[in-house]
């Protein structure tokens, strides 16, 4: 709560900076526009205000983006392909399905690695090494290959979302399972607890904070995967397709609106998981 004032101040300052930057960056284009329209005398004030209302600005002013968002969400029917709601739902579907599979597979793989020392020693270095590889480079290929198998539409994007989200979740959960303190592990040994008992009663609960942290990362990664996959195959719509369309046709404000929509989606997903995390962790006394 004590952060409300500083955060608000910084946000207001950023907003002011944005408007200033927009005026500066759009000014050359605007002066050209004035010249083309035959307008030779204008005040700086007029120039500034006009630069905040251009149709194809270099940097749209915040209110332009808000207006576009309004136009494309509330003022357009949800089923219209021109509206953002239609595309957001597509991206959201891909993200959620991908994330669910990615999370399930990620946690499962982590449990597997934890349960077998052999698997642990063979796979951990690869998992660590794979973190350094830009997995997203595989996205276009996976889309195309799946198309060859007649897996089209939403599914390939969901696959990529799943693929991008499962690695951080696996890494996080393995760390979580290993986070049990040596003292507590020793205690389990004095009870002659089996491996699975130790897992269920100690390692799994101890991993709770890591679970929620890695779920947040996984959800954000799933969304990025869905958006990038849509860029590769934009015929099926989605926010990534809108980004691509905007960049092809030079519709600056449209790009920004799509970007904000994707950001809002990501923030909402991550925020929901964070909230759920805080509630659960408080019940588990990880957070006082």
């Amino acid at each position: 709560m004590k952060n409300v004032l500083p955060v608000t101040t910084v946000l207001i300052a950023l907003l002011a900076l944005w408007y200033a930057a927009a005026a500066l960056m759009n000014a050359p284009l605007q002066t050209d526009a004035f010249a083309n329209a035959g307008k030779t005398s204008y005040s700086t004030g007029e120039l500034v205000v006009a630069s905040w209302g251009m149709e194809r600005p270099k940097l749209p002013a915040p209110h332009q983006i808000v207006a576009e968002l309004y136009k494309l969400t509330i003022a357009t029917p949800p089923t219209s392909k021109r509206g953002l709601i239609y595309h957001s739902i597509i991206t959201l579907e891909e993200t959620l399905i991908g994330f669910l599979f990615g999370a399930g597979f990620g946690v499962g793989l982590a449990v597997l690695i934890q349960s077998s020392p052999v698997l642990n020693r063979s796979m951990t270095p690869w998992i660590v090494a794979s973190q350094t590889v830009p997995i997203i480079a595989l996205a276009p290929m996976i889309v195309v290959i799946l198309n060859q198998f007649n897996v089209t539409g939403l599914a390939p994007k969901a696959v990529i979302a799943a693929y991008l989200s499962f690695f951080p979740i696996t890494v996080g959960m393995v760390k979580g399972f290993r986070s049990a303190e040596p003292l507590q592990l020793d205690l389990m040994r004095t009870y002659s607890a089996t491996r699975s008992q130790t897992f269920a009663k100690l390692r799994a609960p101890a991993s709770a904070p890591f679970f929620f942290a890695s779920m947040q990362i996984g959800a954000a990664a799933a969304l990025v995967g869905a958006v990038v996959a849509e860029v590769t195959k934009s015929e099926d719509g989605g926010l990534g397709a809108r980004l691509l369309a905007g960049s092809y046709y030079g519709q600056t404000v449209q790009i920004w609106a799509a970007l904000f929509a994707a950001a809002a989606l990501s923030a909402a997903l991550v925020g929901l998981i964070a909230l759920a995390g805080r509630l659960v962790l408080r019940r588990m006394a990880f957070v006082r």
Partner: protein, 257 residues
């Protein structure tokens, strides 16, 4: 924990096993090359298309390295600047954490519009992606020096810049390197995905997206291998520098008294 040579055996065996299954499986099941080429086919492609792959690498790496340096550097500088003002820090950090969760790659088309099709727009995307992890980590690092150590500086009547130079920056080094390692991956991702959105006719991302269109999947795989090797090498290099610079940190010490 120092890695012994024998520790490399299980993962190496695992990797070789995967490659073997891949090669034999593709041949035995007659999997068409446009679905999944055999490792041997990819190797052949490597040999025959080396100039193209090299040119792609050079193009993309400019965006990666340029953006990485500017983004990480700016993140560190801003962290030091806001260090003086707890108010600014409390305002900026929550925003930084928030922005890190966003699909920042989406700014790629905007950067292309501002900086053109060449590597500079890709570097710009990488700057945005690498700035926030460094800002968050460096800020945490600057706070990491202990109360006792800071009191010690007070008893010497050391001024702000002496305390910063001699205590807080060295103490922040492990955190800064953590961000530098994370940023190597982000830089690769940023540059390649940015190229999906538009680039001159060269670059790893460009190569992948166009060859996918031609269904030359072996070329796509060859490019992916280059990307994977680049990413791993970049990360390993930073990790090596980290080991030299933060040898004193608890995570490196094999023996503690």
């Amino acid at each position: 924990m120092k890695a012994k040579l024998v520790d490399l055996v299980p993962p190496l065996l695992f990797g070789l096993a995967v490659l073997a299954v891949w090669e034999l499986g593709v041949r035995a099941l007659g999997v068409p090359a446009i679905i999944l080429p055999a490792p041997s086919a990819i190797l052949l492609r490597f040999g025959s298309s080396t100039p193209t792959l090299a040119a792609d690498f050079l193009q993309t790496i400019r965006g990666v390295l340029g953006g990485y340096a500017v983004g990480s550097g700016a993140g560190l500088v801003v962290a030091i600047l806001i260090d003086r003002s707890p108010f600014l820090r409390r305002g900026l950090l929550p925003l930084g954490n928030f922005v890190s969760a966003l699909p920042i790659v989406g700014v790629a088309p905007i950067m292309v519009m501002w900086f053109g099709f060449d590597w500079q727009s890709k570097a710009a995307v990488v700057v945005v992606m690498t700035f926030f992890p460094m800002l968050v980590n460096a800020t945490a690092g600057l706070a990491a020096s202990g109360a006792m150590e800071r009191d010690l500086m007070k008893t010497y009547a050391a001024d702000y810049s002496q305390t910063l130079r001699m205590l807080r920056l060295p103490a922040a080094a492990p955190f800064v390197f953590n961000a530098l390692k994370i940023n190597t991956t982000l830089a690769m991702i940023g540059a390649i995905v940015a190229e999906f959105f538009g680039t001159p006719t060269v670059g790893m991302g460009f190569r992948i997206s166009t060859e996918v269109g031609h269904l030359s999947i072996d070329m796509v795989w060859a490019t992916i291998v280059v990307a994977a090797l680049t990413g791993s090498a970049f990360y390993a290099l930073v990790a090596l520098i980290e080991q030299r610079a933060t040898f004193w940190h608890a995570s490196y010490r094999s023996r503690e008294n």
